[in-house]
Symmetry: C2
Subunit: 161 residues, 2 copies
DNA sequence: GTAATAGTTGACTAAAAAAGTAGGTTATAA
DNA sequence: TTATAACCTACTTTTTTAGTCAACTATTAC
């Protein structure tokens, strides 16, 4: 079982996509700015997300990424699984051959825990997250911060959305 | 968030203690044999478990480890916490300063997940595990295997308990 | 008192994974 | 035809895991 920055980044990036998907394809550079994730790292993650068909891409100028299907049909568990973070808590991957081919003493405990985590993460869709008030507020603050930063850096007036 | 062999070993070893605690202090070497965990590694884990007062030790011949308090009063969550596996799913440890001092987009999601895992693992005591039938059966098989191994290796007749 | 037992401690190591970097290639819209 | 942005591969650094090793101390039994 591991849940690290990688899985968290993937979910955060997907949520960013979900929040702004009506604005057409979203550039990874924009996600990088808003979420503070390195562009190169995002590229790696999105390669995996694409293979799992959770996103689709548009190349060239004006291009970027879209959600592969509606936000209500993408669960947090699917996003985490796509970047190879296994939410399985057992050592044996559920096979029960944890200790020299036999079942280890705590196998059933980890199975139960895995089920819990799966049930929890599998039941939350990106749409559910988009609807949450805390998330809406954080998203707005992030957009303002990015706009302010562009303003200060380049003296370019950014048109508010 | 991480749950690895370390935490699993700790819980397994503590459960082994709980299963045989009426036989007096248990040597780590015996746990090592039954559970297939390296003795040196067990020593490290038990040093941490001792600091958290989850076990007490008896030195010298006939010595070993005992549970620090009754099995019903030790939760799986406490054991895992004792060996430094944090069941916290956030990056910030719950502080909410995940992204350059601000709260990241998915902070609340990971907080909720942490709560779920904590609630689940905190509610299961070693005693609960001891009472489970699958675990009783696995424990018996392990004892038989160890006895058979000693028999074959040394031609020593082991007195059954 | 001496030997055996069993916990106690700390330093060290190999392997794996995570996290991030760097540099180039390809498709496409303007 | 040029700028853009996805795509891809290889590499590096850092952290963590999962151990090993060696020496030390307390206690019991003879």
């Amino acid at each position: 079982m591991r849940l690290t920055t990688k899985g968290r980044y993937a979910v955060t990036a997907m949520l960013d996509l979900a929040l702004s998907h009506e604005r057409g394809p979203i550039r990874l550079a924009a996600i990088s700015d808003r979420q503070g994730i390195s562009l190169s790292y995002l590229e790696q993650l999105f390669a995996q997300l694409r293979r799992s068909e959770l996103v689709s891409s548009v190349r060239g100028p004006g291009g970027g990424y879209r959600l592969g299907r509606e936000a209500a049909a993408i669960s947090v568990a699917q996003v985490i699984a796509a970047v190879n973070e296994d939410t399985d808590a057992t050592r044996c991957g559920g096979a029960g051959d944890c200790q020299e081919g036999e079942t280890c003493l705590t196998h059933h405990l980890w199975m139960d825990l895995s089920d819990q985590i799966h049930a929890f993460l599998g039941d939350i869709s990106l749409n559910d997250l988009v609807a949450r008030n805390e998330i809406k507020m954080i998203s707005e603050q992030q957009q303002q911060r990015v706009a302010a930063r562009a303003d200060g850096d380049n003296q370019i007036q950014v048109t508010p959305v």
